[in-house]
C-alpha cells in the first residue's frame, strides 16, 4: 500500500473572535509546506491538495496549483496531486487547466497526479452558476478535451454542449507522456465504477470501511478488464481512499490531539448541506457552532458512559468506532490498515491537517507513522500488491502510466 497526505487547508476562526487573525491564512499554507517537505523526506508517496471555493473555515485551498508549485521546490520525490481540479468550464476553462497541469509538471520535474472532479457544494456550484444536474456532463466533456489538449499538436478544437474552442496548440506540454496519471473524485460508489470504465484512478472521498473497499476494489478491476474505454491516452488503474489520521505514542494521546480536528472536518463538511442550515457568506462561525455543539454532546456522553460495553475488547471496538481507524497509536493504526491492505487498496491518503490540530503535533504524527508503520506496508506493496495488480491487468493492453 502507498500513502499520501490530503490537504483542505482547514482554518477554523478563533472561538472568541469574529474573524481570523491577520496571519492565519499565511501560517496555514506555510505549515502545510513544512509538513509536505517532511513527508517527502520520510518517504510518503503522494500529497493531494483540494480545490474549493468560498467554503470558509472548511477549506481555504482555492488555488492549489500555486501551493503545489511551491511544494515542488521544497521536495524531491513526493507526487503532487490535484485532489481535485474542478472541471466544469465555469470554474476552470479546460485549456487553462491543461496549461496549469503541464506547467506544474514541468516545474516539478514530472510529479503531477491529475485529479479531476465535478464540484459538489451548493456554495461552489452556485458561485460559478453551474447547474447541478449538468455538472457530470461538464466534467466528462472538459476532462476529455483537457487530456486532448495535453497531448495533441495542435488541439483540433471542439464544438460541444459546454465547450467551444477553435484549433489551437495548447502549450506547454507536460513532461509526463502522454499526460500525467488521471484520477476522478469518487464520493459516490457509482463513480468508483465509472472510474474503472474510463481508465481513471478512483480518488475515494467516501471514507469507506474495509468491507466497502473490498467490495468496490474487486468490481473496479473487473470493470477495467471488461468495459474500459479510456477517457485519455493512458489509463491509471488505481483505487485510493481518504481517512483522518493522528498517530501518537498512545491511543489516548492521539485522541486528545486529533479527535476534535477530525470531528470538525465532518462538521464543516456537512455545513451548508440539507438538513443542516445554509451557509451565510462572511458571517458564519463554524468553529464556534462546532465547539458549542460538542460541549452539549460531551455532557450527554459523560452521562452515557455507563452504557459503553463492559467487555474490554468490545469497549475498545466501541470507542474505535467513535473515532475512526487511524487516530491512535502505531499499533492501532497498523491493525486497521491491514484490513485495507487485505482488500487490496492501492493507496491510503491521510487528512492530517484539520480543525484546530497543532502544527507540531501534526509533524510528530507524520514522523511517527512514517517510522513505525509505513515501511512494512510499502515493502509489501512491492512484493504483493504490485504483482497482484499485474494479474488484474491480464489482457488489458491500454498504455498504463499509473504510479501506484
Amino acid at each position: 500500500m502507498k500513502f499520501g497526505l490530503f490537504y483542505e487547508l482547514q482554518l477554523p476562526k478563533p472561538y472568541d473572535g469574529d474573524t481570523w487573525n491577520p496571519d492565519d491564512e499565511r501560517r496555514i499554507i506555510h505549515e502545510m509546506l513544512e509538513q509536505v517537505e517532511l513527508a517527502d523526506q520520510l518517504g510518503f508517496d503522494y500529497v493531494f491538495e483540494v480545490e474549493h471555493h468560498f467554503l470558509e473555515e472548511y477549506s481555504h485551498s482555492s488555488a492549489p496549483e500555486v501551493v503545489l508549485a511551491a511544494a515542488s521546490q521544497r521536495t524531491k520525490r513526493i507526487r503532487l496531486g490535484h485532489g481535485i481540479v474542478h472541471m466544469p468550464p465555469g470554474h476552470n476553462h479546460p485549456a487553462r487547466t491543461a496549461e496549469r497541469v503541464a506547467t506544474l509538471d514541468l516545474v516539478s520535474n514530472g510529479r503531477v497526479e491529475f485529479g479531476t472532479g465535478e464540484g459538489a457544494s451548493d456554495m461552489e456550484l452556485g458561485g460559478f452558476n453551474t447547474e447541478r444536474g449538468l455538472k457530470k456532463q461538464m466534467w466528462e466533456e472538459s476532462t476529455r478535451e483537457c487530456l486532448r489538449m495535453l497531448t495533441a499538436e495542435p488541439y483540433a478544437g471542439h464544438d460541444g454542449p459546454f465547450l467551444r474552442m477553435p484549433v489551437r496548440n495548447v502549450i506547454p506540454k507536460s513532461l509526463q507522456k502522454p499526460h500525467p496519471p488521471v484520477w476522478v473524485a469518487a464520493s459516490r460508489r457509482e463513480t468508483v465504477m465509472l472510474a474503472a470504465r474510463l481508465g481513471m484512478g478512483s480518488l475515494g472521498f467516501g471514507f469507506e470501511t474495509p468491507e466497502e473497499a473490498d467490495e468496490r476494489i474487486e468490481r473496479y478491476w473487473e470493470l477495467v478488464r471488461e468495459e474500459c474505454r479510456p477517457i485519455g491516452a493512458a489509463i491509471n488503474p488505481a483505487v485510493s481512499t481518504v481517512a483522518t489520521m493522528m498517530c501518537a505514542p498512545t491511543d489516548e494521546q492521539a485522541v486528545a490531539q486529533g479527535l476534535a480536528g477530525a470531528q470538525f472536518f465532518s462538521f464543516s463538511l456537512g455545513r451548508g448541506t440539507p438538513p443542516n442550515p445554509p451557509r451565510n457568506p462572511g458571517h458564519d462561525h463554524l468553529y464556534r457552532e462546532f465547539i458549542d455543539a460538542r460541549r452539549e454532546k460531551d455532557q450527554a456522553k459523560a452521562a452515557a458512559r455507563d452504557q459503553e460495553p463492559e467487555d474490554e475488547g468490545q469497549r475498545a471496538l466501541y470507542r474505535a468506532g467513535q473515532r475512526g481507524g487511524f487516530i491512535g497509536s502505531p499499533r492501532f493504526i497498523r491493525e486497521n490498515l491491514k484490513k485495507y491492505e487485505a482488500a487490496h487498496l492501492d493507496a491510503m491518503i491521510f487528512v492530517a491537517q484539520c480543525g484546530d490540530r497543532k502544527h507540531d503535533e501534526i509533524m510528530a504524527s507524520i514522523e511517527l507513522f512514517a517510522k513505525e508503520v509505513m515501511p512494512e506496508f510499502q515493502e509489501r506493496h512491492e512484493k504483493i500488491q504490485r504483482p497482484w495488480r499485474e494479474q488484474q491487468l491480464d489482457g488489458v493492453t491500454f498504455l498504463n502510466n499509473s504510479t501506484i
Binding site: 466533456e141 459516490r188 463513480t191
Partner: protein
C-alpha cells in the same frame, strides 16, 4: 457492486440488462430509460424502499440528481420524469450502477 445477473426478478433483470447493453453502445437515453423503468418496478414491488429500505438515511446512497426528477404521483407512489432527452455515457452508467445496487439490496 451489483451485477444484473444478481437480480432475481425476471422483469427487472431484463430491464437492467437492457440498460447495460444500451450504455455499452452509447445509447445513453435508452439506458437511462431502462434503468428508471427498473427503479419504478422496484418501488412498485417495495413501496417503502426509499423511506425504510437498506439505503434509507445513507447520504452516500441518495437518488442521483442527473436529469431525472422524482415526483409524487397520485396514491403516494413517486413517479420519475426525464427532465431532458440527452444524457452522457457517464450519466447513463451512474444510473445503471445506482439502480443495480438498489435492486440487489432490495433482494429482488
Amino acid at each position: 457492486m451489483a451485477r444484473p445477473s444478481q437480480v432475481q426478478d425476471e422483469e427487472l433483470r431484463g430491464l437492467i440488462t437492457a440498460a447495460r447493453e444500451a450504455y455499452l453502445h452509447d445509447r445513453n437515453l435508452e439506458s437511462v430509460e431502462k434503468s428508471v423503468a427498473a427503479f419504478r418496478g422496484l418501488l412498485q414491488r417495495q413501496p417503502d424502499f426509499l423511506s425504510t429500505g437498506p439505503f434509507a438515511g445513507n447520504n452516500r446512497r441518495v437518488f442521483p440528481q442527473l436529469g431525472v426528477a422524482m415526483k409524487q404521483a397520485g396514491g403516494g407512489q413517486p413517479d420519475f420524469v426525464l427532465e431532458r432527452r440527452q444524457f452522457s455515457n457517464p450519466e447513463a452508467i451512474t444510473w445503471f450502477e445506482y439502480v443495480s445496487d438498489c435492486l440487489v439490496a432490495a433482494k429482488l
